[in-house]
Structures are given as structure tokens and as C-alpha cells.
């Protein structure tokens, strides 16, 4: 990529023996306990006054060895573990894992299961984006949207709870389809929800979209070009805000997505404001998908024929889905036994977080907060 910025070299973090009046440099440690790092992210900032000369992320505080666990559990046993990675979008994690194993087993989930999967995944995307919006706005100082988004996210979690009994780490899907049939009134609940949400999204936008301070805080902050995005492997709304119309749901469709009509919102400048707009549009598109899915929900079985003991033939497969944060991929190597020989998770947050350094160089401390927020990372997924 000749037109992309070369990745900046790592910081030389010596202890500053001079005061910053002499050297103009100040090392500021942000986290792992800090209100705006969205978990246990530690960011070491090298500052010139308030200007950022470079950042270094220290991660791994939440490392649980998910991949190692995967090698030591059967395929079905590992399924609940993936929910614990991106815990605000647990349904997406589960979908990705189940589809990957299904691919390995060469089975396909029945259409009804696929529709239910799409409904729940898109609801989860909404929940994830709402959480992102609330915390991002709070980071920039707007307190109120947080409570509005939590109010509306609650409705989604209620649907999850009614469907599978859990609100956050749902474990909603099983390899081969869904374990649970929809409860009575599921369609009614979902329809009610998709009628209820659009005015609420308008409400968030009213508070933020044309708010002068919001615009000033987000426009031209944390810019990243499309070329840089591709070179760094940044995906999801961040990539789309840079103007690349790429969404795995369209590019390499999975589940029941080919059946639905929706658009991929893209931005132009790749700044924080565009990412905000893209995610807001994505929320509306998700509602569109949910409406189509719930109206066209087919009858039929919800579980494919899956062997009692899952022994996929030896081989390997990579499959990825469009998680709310970007491309969530699973690479599974099977040796023909009941346990995967190797499970690799390609976490979107981990790869996206890498772009932080590039995005904040030359900007101010306050922008670091805005950019961490706009990258929408979940440390459970970064560290796994």
C-alpha cells in the first residue's frame, strides 16, 4: 500500500529525567483503571503539553486463554465460552462460532433457525451500538444519551431474556440451529420494539448530531483514510466511515442475510463524526432487517440433523461474520476428534485498537478519549 502511512514505530519510553518544561515531553499513564478506557486498557501517552506524540497500548489484563480452552473442550462445550469475549455482542460471537463449526461439519441450519439468528444478531447489533453511543457520548462529556440508550437497550435485553433466559451472555444458538423455539409473543415483542426505537434514535440524534460542541469535538478527530484502514486491517463501521462500502453481510453473505434488503451506510472523511453517523445509520438499517426477518419468519424446524457426538472430518475452515465491531472470524482446525485441534478467533476489537496510535498522533489528550470511544472496543475481546 504505497499511499498508506507507514505504521509508526513504537515509543521509546524512557523515564523522563527532565521535567517537561525542559524537554517538552510528559509521559502520562492512562489506565488500566480509568473511567474512559472502557475496561482494563492501559494507554501510555507521550505528550508535548497536551499534544499527543504517540501512544502505546498495554493489553492482556483480561486474557483468559480462550483459544487454549477451545482446544480442550468439545465443539459444543466451547460454545458458551465465545459469549464471554465480546460480552456486549454475545449473540454475534455465538453466531460466528456456530456457523464455523457447521461449515466444518458440512451441515446447514434450517431457514427458520437462520431467520431467528438474524433477528437476534441484529437486535444485538443495536444493543451494542446503543452501548457504544452512550459511553462514547459520556466520554465526550454528554451524560444524558447514556441513560437514554440504556433505557432502550433494556428492551432488547428483555427480549433476549424471554427468549433464552440470559440477558448478556446469551448462548442463544447451538451448532446446527437454535435450541429454543421462539416464545409466544416473540414476534409481537420484536415488532413492538422496532416501532418503539426509531423515535428514540431520533432523540439521540437530536441531542448530538447537530450539537455544535459535539460536531466540534468529533469532526476531524481521529481521521483514518481508507488505505490506512485496509493496511491495518481495520473493519466494521470504522472502515465504512472511511468510505469503503464493505460489509461481510453483503460481500460474503451468511445466515439468512441474502434474503434481506438493506443498505450499507458509508462515511466520507473517516473521522469520529462520520463513524458516529455511520453507526447511527446502521442502527436504522438493522431495524429494517429485523422488520423484514420478523415479517417473513418461515415455519419449520429450528435444528438441523446434528450427530450426537460431533466429530467433524479432519480439515480446517475460516469463517467470519460482520460483528457490530467489525470482522469477527473463527479459524478452526479439526483433526477428526471431538475437540478442535486449534481454534483461532480473529477479534475485530484487537485489530481495530491497533489503529489508535495512528489516529491520535498529533491530536490532543481529549481526542484520545474520543478515539478510544469511537473505535468501540471491548476489552474482553481484545484480550480474550
Amino acid at each position: 500500500m504505497p499511499d498508506s502511512t507507514p505504521h509508526p514505530s513504537p515509543l521509546e519510553l524512557g523515564s523522563p529525567d527532565k521535567t517537561f518544561l525542559d524537554s517538552n515531553e510528559l509521559i502520562l499513564n492512562m489506565g488500566p483503571q480509568h473511567p474512559a478506557t472502557h475496561g482494563v486498557l492501559r494507554v501510555i501517552l507521550k505528550l508535548d503539553g497536551e499534544k499527543v506524540l504517540g501512544v502505546e497500548c498495554v493489553i492482556g489484563y483480561l486474557h483468559r486463554g480462550v483459544e487454549k480452552i477451545g482446544e480442550n473442550r468439545t465443539y459444543a462445550m466451547f460454545n458458551p465460552y465465545v459469549d464471554r469475549m465480546d460480552y456486549v455482542a454475545a449473540v454475534s460471537n455465538g453466531l460466528g462460532y456456530c456457523e464455523t463449526v457447521e461449515k466444518l461439519l458440512q451441515i446447514e441450519a434450517p431457514p427458520r433457525a437462520n431467520y431467528i439468528r438474524v433477528i437476534l444478531t441484529e437486535l444485538n447489533r443495536l444493543a451494542s451500538h446503543m452501548l457504544w453511543l452512550g459511553t462514547h457520548a459520556l466520554d465526550i462529556g454528554a451524560m444524558t444519551p447514556l441513560f437514554y440508550t440504556f433505557r432502550d437497550r433494556e428492551e432488547i435485553l428483555k427480549i433476549f431474556e424471554k427468549y433464552c433466559g440470559a440477558r448478556l451472555t446469551t448462548h442463544a444458538f447451538r451448532i446446527g440451529g437454535c435450541l429454543y423455539e421462539t416464545y409466544d409473543g416473540f414476534e409481537h415483542d420484536v415488532k413492538k420494539f422496532i416501532d418503539f426505537v426509531p423515535p428514540k434514535i431520533d432523540e439521540y440524534e437530536e441531542l448530538l448530531t447537530s450539537n455544535r460542541i459535539w460536531v466540534e469535538r468529533t469532526k476531524n478527530v481521529g481521521n483514518i483514510s481508507a488505505a490506512d484502514c485496509k493496511a491495518l486491517g481495520v473493519t466494521g463501521p470504522v472502515l465504512r466511515a472511511s468510505g469503503v462500502k464493505w460489509d461481510i453481510r453483503k460481500a460474503l453473505p451468511y445466515a439468512a442475510y441474502p434474503d434481506f434488503d438493506f443498505e450499507i451506510p458509508v462515511g466520507a472523511n473517516g473521522d469520529t463524526y462520520d463513524r458516529y453517523l455511520v453507526r447511527m445509520q446502521e442502527m436504522r438499517q438493522s431495524l429494517r432487517i429485523i422488520r423484514q426477518a420478523v415479517e417473513g419468519l418461515p415455519e419449520g424446524p429450528i435444528m438441523a440433523k446434528v450427530p450426537k457426538v460431533m466429530k467433524p472430518p479432519a480439515g480446517e475452515v475460516y469463517h467470519s461474520i460482520e460483528a457490530p465491531k467489525g470482522e469477527l472470524g473463527y479459524f478452526i482446525v479439526s483433526d477428526g476428534s471431538t475437540q478442535p485441534y486449534r481454534v483461532r478467533v480473529r477479534p475485530p476489537s484487537f485489530v481495530n485498537l491497533q489503529a489508535l496510535d495512528l489516529m491520535v498522533r498529533g491530536q490532543l489528550v481529549a481526542d484520545v478519549i474520543a478515539v478510544i470511544g469511537t473505535l468501540d472496543i471491548v476489552l474482553g475481546e481484545v484480550d480474550r
Partner: protein, 169 residues
Amino acid sequence: MTPVATPFFFYFLAALTLLSAILVITRKNAVHSALALILGLLAQAGLYLMLYAPFVAGVQIILYAGGIMVLFLFVIMLVNLERSQKEEQFNRQKVAGTLAAIALGGLFVAVFIRGKALFPASSNQIAEGSNTQQVGELLYGQYMFAFEIASLLLLVAIIGAVVMAKKRI
């Protein structure tokens, strides 16, 4: 308004001024020195008030205690304190300095004793309540030219400071 306990307040403020002035030069920690200086300036503002010059007192607080000293503190706080603590407090000229100070003090005392006739105590009582107006009239009337010249000088100084401090303009 009848003044209350005037001698007490005068001696109190005067002592405070002197004490803080001494603290300014004896503290090793530069920040403490600056704080002592602020205390001294505030005490001085109190003295101005006692002289029925509230405007001068107010300006003293706003400009010196509030404005200039904050900038002072700013600079001092960013200087490496550990190094300055290790440095010697007084250099070799301290004997000469003390002598000069004593001489100056002697001069003041001599003037005070000998020249009592020159400075009659509280001879001109300024009408209370119009002090600010009088200051204004003097500044913008009689001393207009000098006042404007001084402002011009300050303006030049500000521009000069900006030019010198900024790396690129």
C-alpha cells in the same frame, strides 16, 4: 463609617507584610516563596484599604495577587524543584546584600525621624466614596498622556513577549 481598631490592624498588616517578605527570601521551596509573596501582597492591599484607597487595593488584588502571581506560580511549578532545593540559597554576596539592606533600612528610619515635619500625619483626608472617581479623573484628565504612553509601552512588551515565546508565528 467610623474606623475600628485602626492601630491594631495597621500593625497586624505591617507585621504580616514584613514576615511574608522575609519568608519569600528564606524559603528553599520556590512555591512556598511565591505563596508568601502573595500573602505579602494581600497584606499590602489591606494597608491600601486603611489609607482609604480601595481602588488601589482592588487593583492590587486583581493584578498582583490574582494575575501576575498565578503566572509566576505557573512557571515555578514547572521548574524542577528537586534541583532547586539542592542549590545554595544565598550566594557569596550575601554579606554585601545584608549591609545594603541595613543601610537602606537606616535611611528609611532616618527619613522617618528627621523628616516628620515633611510628612504631616493624615493631613489630606480624601472624601470617602469618591476615591475611584477621583482616580479615574486624574488618570484620564491630568495624566492622560503619561497613562497612554504607559499602555503603549505595555502593548509593545506584550507583542515582544509573544514573538519571543512562540516558535513559529
